[in-house]
Symmetry: C2
């Protein structure tokens, strides 16, 4: 469980990120105002939840016309984003690393993947999706010179523990870990451990429960 170093709950931060993506899509379609219940419906939650989240970050608005889409985007961005773009590195350019890189490239986010690392000679010193791929040996130097503060770990699970020391030494501040090994970092480095197996096992459990409930009702 990740701990958030501020008063805003973790789930609210996640929802703010989701609201913003929805609002950006609305903005692109020329929608200027949106009611809380419409935004809520698009996220499968209640309008009360949306209003509570926005109250938590101090956003208030003339509710007769709904929220001003552009104003709300800028407000959420001031909460979530740094003043300048944040540079991100990917460790492990296998299928998952490449999927993530492709996914972020050109999305116009405040987060930019600027470097990738691997040990495979076929990948090192090439560019993949316009991102230079370096040998892991050069990690500390490239991170420092490239002002990189966040890494995405998509390496094979078995090498993940070996990455802890380089990540600490390079001065990385945030880690998004997709391997099956938890990375326990010292205080001051925020880690989000995310194992896809957990998600899939949760879905499977819910399906099983629903089936059992159905059988009990018949």
């Amino acid at each position: 469980m990740a701990s958030i170093p501020s008063g805003i709950p973790e789930k609210t931060i996640e929802r703010l990120s989701e609201y913003r993506r929805t609002l950006l899509a609305c903005h692109r379609q020329g929608i200027t105002h949106i009611f809380s219940h419409v935004l809520a419906g698009m996220h499968g939650i209640t309008a009360v939840q949306v209003r509570r989240d926005l109250m938590l970050i101090g956003f208030s608005s003339d509710t007769k016309k709904g929220y001003d889409v552009k104003v709300l985007i800028d407000f959420i961005s001031r909460i979530l984003d740094s003043d300048r773009p944040v540079n991100v590195a990917v460790i492990g350019m296998g299928h998952l690393g490449q999927a993530i890189t492709k996914y972020f490239n050109g999305k116009g986010l405040n987060l930019r993947i600027t470097a990738a690392f691997d040990v495979d000679p076929a990948k090192v010193d090439t560019t993949i999706d316009n991102i230079p791929c370096y040998h892991m040996e050069r990690f500390e130097r490239v991170v420092e010179e490239g002002d990189i503060s966040i890494v995405i770990v998509s390496s094979p699970t078995k090498v993940a523990p070996d990455l802890v020391v380089p990540i600490i030494n390079a001065g990385i501040k945030g880690v998004l870990n997709f391997t099956s090994t938890r990375l326990n970092m010292p205080q001051g480095i925020f880690v989000e451990n995310y194992d896809i197996t957990t998600l899939l096992e949760k879905v499977a459990y819910c399906v099983k429960e629903a089936e059992e409930n159905e059988n009990n009702n018949n």
Copy 2:
């Protein structure tokens, strides 16, 4: 936010899945017993949390020697797993779909990826990592004949809304959605929407907050 059709909280289900993976690793190393505080330490949480989770599922044990690893694995498996293996399909065999397939193949889980779907002629009617890849046109028939109850959606975001109807028609019961579009399904179909952008923006926010706190303290 996903709702779980039973009394066990969503976060407990996720942790049970994580405990089991840790316990399986312990078992492979010949470890027969483990104390709650050791298990807790490996997950970066408190022993109280571990004991509370296990109490919720009705697990009790002789605590003098700690938990019996094999007994606890079997107990958690009876909660999480169906009696028979669950068949899973992947829609979209781009980098992400292939990463997920490779990741699960041969893991010996109760969940098995048994079919993949795409529309790319280069992929359709081939096998990728030993998984047959079918044209999306054949989705309903293959799902029915293959007794598939769960799908992982790793298609391009823009086609995700078009998948809702086939997923409903095929009788799918659980969806793990990695695209940036929320899939709102009717009651009876459990959906876990997971957007990687949300995770990364959360990490970035936490890094920013930590930096601001540090600057304020200096």
